[in-house]
Symmetry: C2
Subunit: 385 residues, 2 copies
């Protein structure tokens, strides 16, 4: 039985992971569950899976959590609590389903402790790809992609690791504004942007899908996961979200992975890898009425942040940290109704232009850059509206 | 350098194989080329690749062939000449691109001589699947699929051999009559039937594509190649012929192989396997303008021979030999303008109903059944028009 820690267990990926673990009972022992603020769901999950360790963001929430528990786990909270919990939990595998750049440090800590990583937090590699992949290599630790796109590519590459590669293709739904007239984009509301056409997801990732920042971050993530230059990673819009990823080999063969728009399949694939005998909750793609699959090249006028992300993915260094941090701040402002949808790319572009890229960096530099970029973004945004 | 024998080198697959071998010069030494009647092309190929052995069907043709050769290979001809040529040529790998049931015996002979088989002749496995796969196993010989559909499935299964399988999906173009009104099918001409919408192929296989017999034969071929029950093999019509095959795993993941409608990719993949450093003639799928892929469940009223083939694939025994033999005779009659398109399925159905299936059989029985079925079909066809 493997010991598993789930960071972000009350989010969309976390909840589905719990569903997967529930139906594969004898395989995992849950040792740590964590939440930001949703103590009620965390308590419910804890009462079911009985992990010895829990984490929630504040002392106050930890007290509320305690009142709803039917047993007495050790509860961590506060700024350093999450890393302490990871250190103490003794997991063999850690599922990182945190949102945003806060995912980096726990991943690094877990790798240091030789835990395999099932990675749903793309910022881990966007910010610290170099540091994380080097450490994982030296520790002999696997980084298993949970993102549906990267898991799809990972599946296509199985058994083909030696085969000369031409490129990787990440598919994108195109989000809710794929066909919105360009001039209307400035006035779209957060409610419109949050209506993702094919996937039910968290707020941050839904906005990132509408701007295609999400795909930009995935290019950087794929670069590190599969150890290839970002110029070998292309994006195709595929509004049906049925083909999750493709790999084109030098001989002209393309392998692609298709499946229902259900996260339980990539989650199960990553958690159980290399074992393939598991219950992924039995979802299948309904092909009985046929299928109609479209693939469209993305229009960079509509998705300027994708073009910026591609440039950032080529430059690397500390630029991805800036790109990501500014986007996080801007997306939050947009969701809060403080800026327009089209302001997101303006502020990202502006802060990037103010940043001097540094190709050699350590963790401390990264965190400083992250913090600088957030401050700069907030400063600019205060002047936006 | 591997020694290769190409049976059927002047046909569509044979010519493309020569193209592939030409651009990968240091990998193969051609030791045998064979043709049925096209001595001029065979001479041209021989003068280029200089195999020590050639075969052509008759003594007369062998004399014509000799006059066009710029060197002096040993030339076999006549009924037993093909098997003698296979015996003597000393190949490491034999590409069987013969058309029809005449492909079976040379495959068996080559396996006995421990040659790997690159298989484009589907009748080899349709007729003798049981015998051929058992012999290949005992001889430790690889059977590598050249058919684009089976090669696609083979690619999808690489690295996934241990993964629980739900089903295999063979894609079909649907042929030229996919949308022809049903009542017009009785009066379609051979010229119309030979116009394949996506692939340029030989006559026999073009008609088999129009009736979907081709897909029926491929179900039986896949059953033996991948060692799975035929009930786990489904067919989907995909008019664009871009997705060549799919594999659905128990967890709901589907892997599919896409590529341009070019046989050089599966041919190169099979010939070089497991080596992946080769020139496949550089063809790529153009996705720059996007793609639109349709998948439709086949209508068995339109394609009655597909329904019959599925039944035959479940029954096995000597039934596939009958199905194949009668179809060969009927297709020839249709091409010669002697019967209607819809008579093909009537005669196949009729002869199958007269046959007593035998689940245990040897090669001799198979050849007797094949011969009985042809005679019976010809007898019935004489009464048709």
């Amino acid at each position: 039985m493997k010991k598993i820690a789930i960071l972000g267990s009350t989010g969309s990926i976390g909840v589905t992971s719990c569903d997967v673990i529930r139906v594969n009972k004898d395989y995992f022992q849950v040792v740590l569950l964590t939440a930001n603020t949703n103590y009620e769901l965390l308590a419910k999950q804890a009462n079911e899976f009985r992990p010895a360790y829990l984490y929630i963001s504040s002392k106050e929430l930890s007290q509320k959590l305690t009142t709803q528990l039917q047993y007495a786990p050790k509860i961590f909270y506060g700024d350093t609590g999450l890393l302490d919990a990871v250190c103490e939990c003794g997991a063999n595998i850690l599922l990182n389903a945190l949102v945003g750049s806060m995912g980096l440090l726990p991943t690094l800590k877990a790798i240091e402790l030789s835990m395999d990583i099932a990675l749903a937090n793309k910022e881990t590699l966007v910010l610290g790809g170099d540091i994380v992949t080097s450490l994982a290599k030296s520790k002999g630790v696997k980084i298993l992609p949970v993102d549906s796109e990267h898991n799809a590519i990972f599946q296509c590459l199985q058994g083909n690791q030696q085969r000369p590669l031409k490129r990787i293709i990440l598919t994108a739904s195109g989000g809710p504004f794929l066909r919105t007239p360009l001039k209307e984009l400035a006035s779209v509301t957060p409610e419109q942007a949050l209506k993702h056409p094919t996937w039910g997801m968290g707020k941050k990732i839904s906005i990132d899908s509408a701007t295609m920042v999400n795909k930009g971050l995935e290019i950087i993530e794929a670069k590190w996961l599969f150890d290839i230059p970002s110029t070998m990673i292309d994006v195709l819009i595929h509004p049906q979200s049925i083909v999750h990823g493709m790999v084109e080999f030098a001989d002209g063969s393309l392998l692609s992975m298709l499946g229902p728009t259900s996260m339980s399949i990539p989650i199960a694939h990553a958690l159980f890898y290399p074992n393939s005998e598991y219950n992924s909750l039995g979802q299948t793609l309904d092909m009985s009425k046929g299928l109609n699959l479209e693939f469209i090249s993305p229009d960079e006028e509509r998705f300027p942040l994708l073009a910026i992300a591609k440039h950032v993915a080529q430059e690397l260094g500390t630029k991805p940290a800036v790109f990501n941090a500014v986007n996080e701040v801007a997306v939050k402002s947009f969701i809060d109704g403080k800026i327009r949808f089209t302001d997101i790319h303006s502020v990202v572009e502006k802060v990037l232009s103010l940043h001097t890229n540094s190709k050699k960096y350590d963790l401390k530099t990264l965190l400083e850059v992250d913090s600088w970029a957030r401050n700069k973004a907030e400063e600019l945004l205060r002047g936006t509206k």
